[in-house]
Symmetry: C2
Subunit: 383 residues, 2 copies
């Protein structure tokens, strides 16, 4: 049921014609209250798309009644005209629903640098409003797909309340062309001053640590809506834990469906001097094309792990670092460890464990391999 | 004639058997004086290979008589035993030549994390000494090749003096598995206190700005030897300019031979607030897999250029940035410019011009596309 699993939400997904394939491309999520608390995190890219600029603005008061999403065009790098298009879209949604445009967030995904065909989009919005339903979550989840092969959805159940969610994308809060869009809904009673830190905490250890190809989209958006329809007020800790579970569930689905990937790789950096150091070292591995191609080739090339973390400023001594790949400590004290022939990389799941012996902190970064299919898909996308 | 083009240098390249293919794999360059000035720059990777540790040490006095290089094994991440192997190699060269080991630099390239077969290597060193010749430059250039398809050499002629050089690698001072090794020689009279800044200046705008795949090797080494055999003392400016020309010539050859590449891409960032900003923005493009795959697919996807520089902290306003690809200004003021259909990407050479409108500095970064062949070669390398 995705975003319509909690009480008091309706959703829809329709084919407006933005995609040449005729697949669904406009989604709408409506919060019927009673509360309208909302929070969001957005891409840190310095070329934020028009819908990101708009949504950031309307979320300043931490209240939302609706989110409209489209695939088939990112509306990024489209200048003032593109911003006007987003504004018009929000106004249209608001008019159809009898609410204010300032209560409508917009999210878009697709090719950068193209205007959206507004007649097509607005007609799609009207069609979506017409079929809004408390069973519409699955349709909405399908309408935001681009290169995704399956819809990504989650439901987490609290004590008398529920969190629902949908996502699209083949990456992270720094994904691929396949911008990551996530909408989370809950019928728990969660005031805005709890909701925003909860979302920040949930995303920081989930979607923000998925680094499929190191490329930060102009459109990434994660929005959570809380309507209090259940009447139940969970503790901040309880709610944050459930929201983190929902975001992590979606993140793992993004990872598993990353464009052209053949491996899901979890890189855990242990005994780091700080979480930041662990993230930095893990991310350096996740972004190292030589390591990613080696793993695609089932080659436990631990030298490329060291070469990657050797480019960072994380605290460690080169002759203290151990690397374990799928359970085999192939590198010990920065030098040759157990035979690499013992490492079985034939499955999809790969774990890389880097022990820095420099402190007590750790972090896991999730990534994919760099495959022939990745190159193929991303060289053929816009043409 | 490569490294033996200047007077007073001998070289050799032999097949010792380090490579299973039987191709040449040990090179030796000897400076017969009268001077023995030398300078070097090395990888900044924090896991420097044993030969890098050794050579950095022996170059502390800025004097060298010989450089021994091997392909077929990087001797990186091999611990104290690997360092002892490098030391033994230098001692062996020194004994054969009747000089001190402290006058012998060592450079290695190949797979990380494997000990070198020392009997094979030392026998090869002996064989190389036996065939040292003033015509040996081309043999030496061939013996340092790994995945290189052609040897890379250069000769620059001054007024009565000459610079010769050879290089291997498919990248930069941060290349691919194909570590970059460069040896430059000159018979100009160049004291060490001129030679080191000249080399630093030459490499900073040439090999250090080639960023083929963003991966920094553990073994990168650039060494220059100056023996004064010509008796001519060029000005520091004159010598630096010629050395820069030699390093740039080699850098462009590395770029053209990068593993699996189909495009040579020059990214020039203009009107930056600083050279550092221009380099940062250019490098972000050079390391963006989505942009690199798009260019492989002949797609002038300027949105990916903006998305890449949007991840940096370079000074610019998003609505001021222009992007010109192969002469067509496809992005103007951060938004849609001339039609992308006008861009012809069918050739190997691609120029991307980013105008930040934030100052008066500029820099060019050279890179390659991300091709199916890159993934294929690098997933199949060590297995």
């Amino acid at each position: 049921m995705t975003v319509t699993a909690p009480q008091g939400f309706r959703a829809a997904g329709v084919a407006a014609g933005l995609k040449s394939t005729g697949a669904p491309d406009v989604a709408l999520v409506v919060n019927d209250g009673p509360d309208d608390a909302a929070a969001a995190v957005f891409t840190t890219n310095r070329f934020p798309a028009a819908p990101v600029l708009w949504s950031r603005q309307v979320l300043a008061d931490h209240r939302l009644r609706a989110v409209v999403l489209n695939s088939g065009g990112a509306n990024a790098c489209t200048g003032p005209e593109g911003f006007a298009d987003t504004h018009t879209t929000a106004e249209h949604v608001a008019a159809e629903l009898g609410i204010g445009a300032v209560d409508v967030a917009v999210a878009s995904t697709g090719l950068i640098g193209m205007r959206l065909p507004m007649d097509t989009l607005l007609a799609g919005v009207g069609a979506a409003v017409a079929v809004l339903s408390a069973d519409g979550g699955p349709d909405a989840a399908r309408a935001i797909m681009t290169t995704d092969s399956v819809p990504k959805t989650t439901v987490q159940t609290g004590n008398g309340w529920t969190i629902g969610g949908m996502a699209k994308g083949a990456g992270m809060l720094a994904p691929s062309l396949a911008t990551m869009l996530v909408v989370l809904t809950t019928d728990a009673v969660v005031p805005a001053d709890v909701l925003q830190p909860a979302l920040r905490a949930a995303t920081s250890v989930s979607v923000e640590r998925v680094d499929s190809d190191g490329c930060l989209s102009t459109n990434d958006t994660v929005i959570v809506l809380a309507n209090g329809a259940s009447g139940v007020t969970p503790s901040a800790e309880e709610f944050t834990a459930a929201l983190t579970a929902a975001a992590t569930d979606l993140a793992m689905q993004l990872l598993a469906d990353a464009e052209g990937s053949t491996k899901d790789i979890a890189i855990t950096v242990r005994n780091a001097a700080s979480v930041a150091d662990a993230v930095t070292a893990g991310r350096a591995c996740a972004r190292n094309n030589l390591l990613k191609t080696a793993l695609f080739g089932n080659d436990p090339n631990w030298g490329r792990v060291l070469a990657a973390i050797g480019t960072t400023d994380a605290a460690f001594e080169p002759d203290q670092v151990d690397v374990t790949i799928n359970g085999v400590t192939v590198c010990r004290a920065g030098a040759i460890g157990d035979p690499r022939e013992g490492v079985d990389l034939s499955g999809r799941a790969i774990t890389i464990d880097v022990d820095l012996r420099a402190g007590g902190e750790q972090a896991t970064i999730w990534t994919n391999d760099l495959s022939l299919a990745y190159v193929h898909e991303n060289s053929a996308y816009s043409t």
